[in-house]
């Protein structure tokens, strides 16, 4: 690769930012796709792999006597502090990474070189896993009120919309075209979700080009058509997710919001979610708080509040709740928009759908939801997540916020979701990783031109294949909680919104719970299932034997199997865990700091043995470090599915790595 100035630097130290543990020494490699740090340890050659596309910022800090520190912040919230002995090397690494982290064309991205060793057919099947056509059928469409429109064939009307869209039957092409001309970027009202229980729907669009007084007959007819498509209600809600002030300011630019006097039977509502710039700054502020070194409780809580992050999360959630209630309780259809209708609108529509429809709370359904409200409706993944080098002001954690909303709901309804926290974390990771083609580009049209489906693999297939890792053992498909709408209390419950430690501090192992209930229960379930299978097999055998009428059956030999509860009853070393520095700044234990004693280093070793990074995603390792791979201890014996992929990835990376 022409951008790599130096492929290898030795004697680099990787500092541990949180604990006072000593930095580990190792070798730094730069490859076409990854930054790799390999520890020098005598038997534990722990590796840390960072994808270039995950790198958010690189900061060269003031040179000290020990070397030149380089701080790498990643989009998945990992932070690496490397200390490179030679200033010159550091500079080379810095310059190389600056370039590598900001690809200028799609072909440079990892997904075009990533090869999970699937054949063509498997790849194609992977792309078919999530089928929006099927999804609209599941909703009960088409029906007497809604039809599939081909008005956007070849992206003729709106280049950021998909080609296949559902619109009210009574909306003629003329109406749609007229309406599209009256909407920002021609994003006319189209169906996002249809609630078949009462015919109410959620539609989405961009803002109208109303200015101070402009009207558009077709747009008014379009909204009327949406209302008529729901015979149960004589009005529709129009929800503008922006703060009123922002919407009013837009009028000066010839945009704005619907005037209730011009549209018949609409109820207009502002929600007040801030724009992408506010959100970007908010995340920045929150991450600064996460980065504080041993903050006091006050520092943390003040910092978190000042970042406004949880307030924004709540605003998005409140909007979703409002719409879900309008649809389910009032039976009214809702048209949602913001400015362009691809950020806040996507957040709010998908939160509302998730609350309304248990299908979206399953593994498959959740993928469909992201495919529908985000990918197909032209959420600008490329701009928002800085995939190609571009305007930094376009970057904003829009889908991150949606993912967090889902996590907040999972915390409140532990049995309502088929998937677990890890599923969300991995999706977040892959939105930035560019290992799969799903989240490239800014629209369906661009993806088609780039032939994403022919040239890259689908994340959904990858997640689906490993679905065993993503299941929530507490999910109760049978329970009332999971059947219908998720009922949130009407009172504002601020205290319910929690800081998501598992996401924003997920690489700070010491801060995470040291044992995982999910892992444990999954292992228990797996063992139970295996025993049941064994039991069945034995019973079958018993029957056969009885038929044959043998005198002595030794079927019960299995009974006293020593492996009883082998997996879990002794969790022995699984929780090996070192104390952090509790003494603070006090020189309390002067003789030796906790990291120097013999026994301590032994313990530190055990912790480091747990691999904490991984080329792909540090998939399992990152979750399990506290509890050493419970899943591997189930009687199924050792190797467990998830490591497979990372193994494969490693292979392919290895190749790149060697050629580099």
């Amino acid at each position: 690769m022409e951008h790599i100035r130096t492929p290898k630097v030795e004697n680099v130290r990787l500092a541990d930012r949180v604990t006072s543990k000593k930095a580990v020494v190792g070798t730094l490699y730069l490859t076409a796709t990854h930054v790799i740090f390999v520890e020098n340890g005598p038997d534990t050659r722990k590796e840390t792999w960072i994808l270039h596309s995950q790198i958010s910022t690189i900061e060269k800090q003031a040179t000290t006597a020990t070397g030149c520190p380089l701080l790498i912040r990643c989009k998945n919230f990992q932070i690496l502090q490397l200390i490179i002995p030679q200033e010159r090397d550091c500079h080379d690494v810095y310059i190389s990474l600056i370039r590598l982290a900001r690809p200028v064309k799609y072909e440079e991205l990892y997904c075009f070189s990533f090869n999970p060793k699937l054949d063509k057919e498997e790849r194609e099947q992977g792309w078919m896993l999530v089928d929006l056509g099927e999804e609209y059928k599941r909703m009960g469409l088409p029906n007497d009120y809604w039809q599939l429109s081909d008005v956007n064939r070849d992206y003729r009307v709106c280049d950021s919309y998909p080609t296949e869209l559902y619109v009210p039957k009574s909306a003629t092409a003329h109406i749609i075209l007229g309406s599209s001309k009256f909407r920002s970027r021609r994003r006319f009202p189209a169906l996002s979700y249809y609630y078949k229980d009462n015919h109410a729907s959620i539609c989405r669009s961009s803002q109208p080009l109303s200015g101070f007084s402009a009207r558009c007959l077709e747009d008014e007819q379009m909204l009327q058509a949406i209302r008529k498509a729901n015979p149960g209600s004589d009005f529709i809600y129009v929800v503008d997710t922006r703060p009123k002030l922002n919407a009013m300011a837009n009028r000066a630019a010839g945009k704005g919001y619907e005037n209730e006097d011009n549209y018949s039977n609409i109820k207009f509502q502002f929600i007040g979610i801030e724009n992408i710039h506010v959100m970007r700054n908010s995340l920045q502020k929150m991450l600064e708080v996460c980065e504080l070194k041993s903050p006091s409780m006050s520092d943390f809580l003040w910092g978190l509040e000042n970042s406004g992050w949880l307030r924004h999360i709540k605003a998005i959630m409140d909007a979703g709740i409002f719409i879900a209630k309008a649809v389910s309780e009032e039976g009214a259809s809702v048209l949602v928009h913001c400015s362009d209708g691809w950020d806040r609108t996507a957040q709010v529509c998908s939160v509302a759908s998730l609350l309304l429809d248990p299908h979206y709370r399953t593994l498959k359904g959740f993928m469909v939801l992201i495919e529908k409200d985000w990918i197909s409706f032209g959420h600008k993944f490329n701009h928002r997540y800085g995939i190609l080098d571009g305007d930094p002001k376009e970057i904003s954690p829009v889908i991150d916020q949606f993912i967090e909303c889902v996590w907040q709901l999972m915390e409140r309804f532990p049995c309502a979701f088929e998937f677990n926290e890890r599923f969300l974390i991995h999706i977040q990771h892959h939105i930035y990783s560019c290992q799969f083609g799903n989240f490239l580009c800014n629209s369906q049209k661009e993806r088609q031109e780039l032939q994403i489906q022919e040239r890259t693999y689908s994340l959904w297939a990858h997640l689906w294949k490993n679905r065993a890792d993503y299941l929530n053992p507490l999910f109760r498909a049978d329970h009332s909680q999971t059947q219908g709408i998720l009922h949130l209390p009407t009172t504002p419950c601020n205290s319910m919104y929690k800081f998501w430690n598992g996401m924003y501090n997920r690489f700070e192992k010491g801060m995470q719970p040291r044992q995982s209930v999910t892992e444990y229960l999954m292992a228990v379930k797996e063992e139970t299932q295996q025993l049941e299978e064994e039991l069945e097999a034995l019973e079958e055998r018993l029957e056969k034997i009885q038929k044959v009428q043998l005198n002595h059956t030794k079927v019960k030999s299995k009974q006293n199997e020593p492996s009883k509860h082998s997996g879990f009853s002794t969790s022995d070393n699984s929780t090996a865990n070192t104390p952090q520095d509790y003494s603070g700044n006090m020189k309390s234990f002067p003789s030796r700091s906790p990291s120097q004693g013999d026994e301590d280093s032994a313990l530190i070793l055990t912790q480091d043995n747990l691999k904490s990074s991984d080329p792909d995603l540090s998939a399992n390792s990152d979750q399990e470090s506290g509890v050493e791979d419970l899943s591997c201890r189930s009687p199924s014996g050792g190797e467990h599915a998830p490591s497979e992929d990372s193994g494969k990835d490693r292979d392919s990376d290895e190749a790149v790595f060697l050629t580099a």
Binding site: S296, M297, S298, D299, F300, L301, W302, E305, L310, R311, K314, R412, P414, C415, L474, R476, H479, Q481, P489, P492, C493, S495, M496, Y497, K498, N501, E508, M511, Q512, P513, R514, Q515, V517, Y520, V524, K525, E527, T528, L531, E532, E534, L535, E561, K564, H565, S571, D572, T575, N577, P579, Q580, Y582, S583, G584, M586, F589, S591, R592, E599, V627
Partner: protein, 514 residues
């Protein structure tokens, strides 16, 4: 009275006759708190034979020669005969069964019981009954564990030198490296910087008993300044020169009225449903509750770390030694001692380190957060302890045998209870009020089988290691199960708990049948 007290003899050789049809069983007979066990020798018979002592309706014993016979008539109309080798053994077993089968004994865990464990681990400590009549220290129990080499006379002198007579006593012996955790109240050095030779000797003996050259840390739960100021009122802190080998650390913990106010403010904030999200976190911060949780846990970790990592002995005290001192010693044990993380062990810990150690429950829990009465002695120290335990459980969800249910129950019962366990301020008062004869024990109430599903953690698996929690603010959470208990819908978390139980019991069932 403790069940195990009633067990006179551990085991004996016996033959069990179960009626004319069943073959006799020979083996080792064993009495536990609730069961009679017969474990056959190496012979063919497969299983342990088990009888619930409560099911015994009547018992009859006969002795002849050097063996005896016990006849048990059970509530389910069975009649069992036990032929036991040895007269003494027969009589002891009969008496044990007699005592235990009634099962209504006041269930509690006296220091004697903990001493039995310590005595198995080391010879450095003894049980002293110097406080038999509560004259030395009204807030201590009758029996206390002290260094073997220190006699009762010296203890009395040391008691005179400590506020309220709370001389240093053993709180926990860390068997893996022989270090000890002690607690006391502040020394009465006063402005003249008085010293007490016996008190100094006592602490020296602790170090000698641990191992030659052992060092110690005194964790004072007050700030250095507050400790200094205490001298003006006759209190103070250990002078460095007087206690060689001991080093003093100050970790100020909140106590008394500020702690109560923190609790009141937090409950108010949690109950305020009109509050906007903009100010929620700063309001939470303003309550300072989570900060107190963080400080309490950090200090306990410091004590535990000193023992486990530095091989040092630790003495904890603040002023009176009945509040933040107990918070630190009990949490440190939970971190270090796997036994204290079991259902029984935790109950014993609460009994020993809070109830018998003289935490003044009556005063501290007279009013909770809603009372308009002017707080006098109220302070939610015990609640703070429970919150810290909950945080530990959240970070180590498989390492505590009990669940949130037990912590909630303890919180409730500490403030208002149909049981007598949390009554009064000290053992002395409980004796005067005849609590043990006139009320029931909370522990027997909680240990009813029907309560178990609520209280137990089905995920528990013994974790023999120390559990070091993270005390970073990101890792500590508001205990919603308690503070939002009545404002949030309970169903989702209850459903989750049921599901956890279901998964675990399913697995056990399958294993049983496989």
């Amino acid at each position: 009275m403790e069940f195990s007290e009633l067990i006179r003899t551990g085991r004996a050789q016996a033959e069990l006759l179960r009626g004319p049809e069943a073959p006799p069983l020979r083996g080792t007979l064993c009495v536990t708190s609730h069961h009679l066990l017969l474990s056959p020798g190496t012979e063919a018979s497969p299983d342990l034979w088990l009888l619930l002592l409560r099911s015994v309706d009547s018992i009859e014993k006969r002795v002849a020669g050097d063996s005896g016979t016990i006849t048990l008539r059970c509530k389910d109309l069975r009649v069992l005969q036990l032929d036991i080798e040895g007269v003494e053994a027969t009589l002891d077993i009969a008496r044990s069964i007699e005592g235990l089968r009634l099962g209504d004994a006041w269930h509690f865990h006296p220091p004697e019981r903990y001493y039995q464990r310590v005595a198995r681990e080391t010879n450095a400590w003894r049980l002293s009954e110097v406080n038999e009549d509560f004259s030395l220290c009204p807030s201590y129990p009758r029996a206390l564990i002290v260094p073997r080499s220190v006699d009762d006379h010296a203890l009395a002198r040391s008691a005179g030198f400590r506020q309220g007579g709370r001389f240093p006593v053993l709180s926990y012996h860390h068997a893996p490296n022989g270090t000890a955790l002690l607690r006391s109240s502040q020394p009465l050095t006063g402005p003249q910087k008085r010293r007490c030779a016996e008190d100094e000797e006592l602490l020296r003996a602790v170090l000698v008993g641990a191992r030659p050259g052992a060092r110690g840390f005194i964790i004072d739960t007050r700030s250095a300044q507050a400790a200094k100021q205490a001298r003006m009122t006759g209190g103070g802190t250990e002078a460095k020169a007087a206690y060689p080998g001991w080093k003093r650390l100050h970790r100020p913990l909140e106590r008394g009225r500020p702690l109560q106010e923190s609790f009141v403010r937090l409950v108010e904030a949690c109950g305020d449903l009109e509050q906007s999200m903009d100010r929620w976190l700063s309001r939470l911060e303003g309550c300072r509750w989570l900060e107190h949780v963080k400080e309490a846990l950090s200090t306990a970790c410091l004590a535990a770390q000193g023992m486990e990592r530095e091989g040092a002995c630790i003495l904890v005290h603040g002023a009176e030694g009945t509040d933040s001192t107990l918070l630190v010693t009990s949490l440190a044990q939970l971190i270090l001692d796997p036994l204290s993380r079991t259902m029984d062990g935790f109950q014993e810990l609460v009994e020993r380190e809070w109830i018998q150690a003289g935490h003044p429950f009556q005063l501290r829990c007279a009013h909770s957060a809603f009372s308009h009465a002017r707080p006098k002695h109220e302070a939610p120290t015990f609640l703070l302890f429970l919150d810290c335990v909950w945080q530990l459980g959240r970070q180590f969800p498989l390492s505590l045998e009990f669940g949130e249910g037990l912590l909630l129950a303890l919180f409730e019962h500490a403030y208002a209870s149909p049981f007598g366990s949390f009554l009064c301020n000290s053992e002395k008062e409980r004796g005067l009020c005849e609590v043990r004869t006139r009320t029931h024990s909370l522990w027997s109430g909680l240990n009813q089988p029907k309560e178990q599903r609520k209280l137990r953690n089905p995920l528990y698996a013994l974790n023999p290691l120390a559990i070091w929690p993270s005390v970073e603010p990101q890792s500590l959470r508001l205990w919603q199960g308690l503070f939002l208990r009545w404002t949030r819908p309970p169903e989702p978390s209850e459903t989750a708990w049921e599901k956890v139980w279901q998964i675990v019991t399913d697995s056990e069932k399958t294993e049983g049948s496989a």
